[in-house]
């Protein structure tokens, strides 16, 4: 391994000078800069980011804690953050919390121990998340996809209420009144807000929400499968189902197919999220899509900004959803 002093030696300068040309700080005579650059080149010197981190008490790393690396929604986020980080000379530390608060806590501690420059998180708990330990450690934090209520952080989320509202509205416009809903846990803002949107669309049209049609659970395909089965076994069953995220949709689809029901003839379906397969399956799914890449891009931009100037007040960015009408909803007439 070649150290900064090796470069200094070869260039006949002090390591301080080498450091200066590396970071473009202070005044350096053009001729010495060239000498140094040449020495760096011939030696193939690469500064140790570890030593630098120790010295300046901060690394060039952005921590990214997400809840499910196998969910395409989060994957888009990761992709966007990676892009922005890379463009700015940062690398990313990826952690999968698995929606477990303990793993989340462990990774938060890791972020502090590794002195990352900033953290982006999809937290598991809207209140009481360990992520607030980052603030006293002076590590900028931005919450993405979900809101955090017990500390001041930059936030970038979707307008979930509106997304759910609009897509349920669409269903109602097609004559549906008995609309089943399968939605993520109510301990997260996403689940809560989507439920709220569902409710307000219903009540706005004078439709009484019916408890049997409303199902909550962890946002997994298992939940989707079980709850869809339950909904379809109702007598009478709903004429349409609204699934609260892409995993739930997969499970619901399995249940529907297992019962040999046809979409949309036997049951209409609208889904939150627009994974690639939603327009490959037949019929193509009517969905409310999130600007996933944009969510990630903005979050990354926000941390970077706050890494530069920590002072500014916190921002909350709310992005609009987009309903994409395709073929999974049938027009029904009230019988």
């Amino acid at each position: 391994m070649v150290r900064i002093k090796d470069v200094a030696q070869l260039a006949n300068v002090s390591s301080a000078t080498v450091s200066r040309v590396l970071s473009n700080k202070g005044q350096i005579r053009e001729s010495t800069r060239e000498k140094v650059l040449e020495a760096i080149n011939t030696l193939g010197y690469k500064p140790s980011r570890v030593a630098r981190s120790l010295r300046v008490r901060s690394s060039q790393i952005i921590g990214l804690i997400i809840s499910d690396i196998q969910n395409p929604f989060f994957t888009s986020l990761v992709r966007a953050v990676e892009d922005v980080a890379h463009q700015n000379g940062y690398a990313i530390f990826l952690c999968n919390s698995d929606e477990h608060i303990e793993k989340e806590a462990l990774y938060i501690d890791l972020m502090i121990a590794e002195q990352v420059a900033g953290v982006i998180i999809t937290t598991t708990q809207e209140a009481g998340s360990p992520c607030k330990k980052l603030l006293p450690a002076n590590i900028p934090l931005v919450s993405i996809d979900r809101r955090v209520f017990d500390c001041e952080v930059d936030t970038v989320v979707l307008d979930n209420v509106r997304g759910a509202y609009e897509v349920v509205n669409h269903l109602i416009g097609f004559g549906h009144e008995r609309i089943g809903v399968i939605i993520g846990s109510q301990t997260m803002t996403t689940g809560r807000e989507r439920y709220e949107g569902y409710l307000s669309a219903l009540t706005e049209h004078g439709i009484q929400p019916e408890p049997a049609l409303i199902r909550f659970g962890p946002p997994t395909s298992k939940t989707g499968y079980e709850m869809a089965n339950a909904l379809l076994s109702l007598d009478p069953p709903p004429t349409a189902i609204f699934t609260g995220n892409n995993l739930i949709t997969i499970g619901a689809l399995h249940a529907i197919q297992e019962k040999n029901l046809a979409i949309p003839d036997d049951i209409s379906l609208v889904a939150f999220d627009d994974p690639e397969w939603a327009s490959i399956i037949r019929p193509r799914l009517t969905v409310v899509a999130q600007p996933t890449y944009e969510l990630g891009r903005i979050a990354a931009t926000l941390v970077l900004k706050r890494i530069k100037d920590a002072g500014d007040p916190c921002e909350t960015v709310v992005l609009p959803p987009e309903v994409r009408i395709r073929e999974s909803v049938k027009r029904v007439t009230i019988s």
Copy 2:
């Protein structure tokens, strides 16, 4: 921030002792250990991994360089590596090379600068990859999914030849002879080996490979779309298509649907990879599945092993594929 000397002070010992209890090295009297532990607790001390890394010249980080974070195949890999790393107290550094050799090179340099403990990579080039710079830097390297030819590394890959061979064999067993194939670039082992499997199944049955039926391209859905279009425009068109990875399959599916062709009545389809949606779409796709999680798990286990004892000779693990017969292949009779 609380440092090790703060703990030492409070516990009335030297920092060396604190370090010893932290790492369970050497002999420590039980009473002092307790004193130290208590001090750690009351102070809420978390050791700086940065300082440790600098001192021991290696971090507790495993670098993971993959080519496409949005491809579920790689995502499974990431998931597995994350799991194993986490279980062993390692964190992962995730980098997306985007199948670009320059980005790969940049990230390799980063790994060295960050002194990661080991690297797992799906390299973009089977020869001439910058990843061999890691070896002189004493950083263990394992190549996953793809083989590397110009340096000695641990490798874990699928038996691609066999996978392609078996699934094409299945097609032939159902009477197909004009079998189109859309496959990834021949500069990567995956593409080459899958092509080889295709070829050997054909020749084994005395079927003459027909150049017009064989299409190569980058492993993207764009390639799948364009090449499927080309294949379907042939006169006569193939009776079956074999797509070389999940992205290509998506593109091919789009092309087939755009032409209003029915699977398997108008065209049979078999695919490499078994993403979740392959059994949601109708008809369900006959595929050759890779043990993705297992690939990642083994790769992670291998780096960890080599981090412990660098000496051992390199291993190459080859995992078997699994053909999953579903409904996308029709029996045809030779006309």
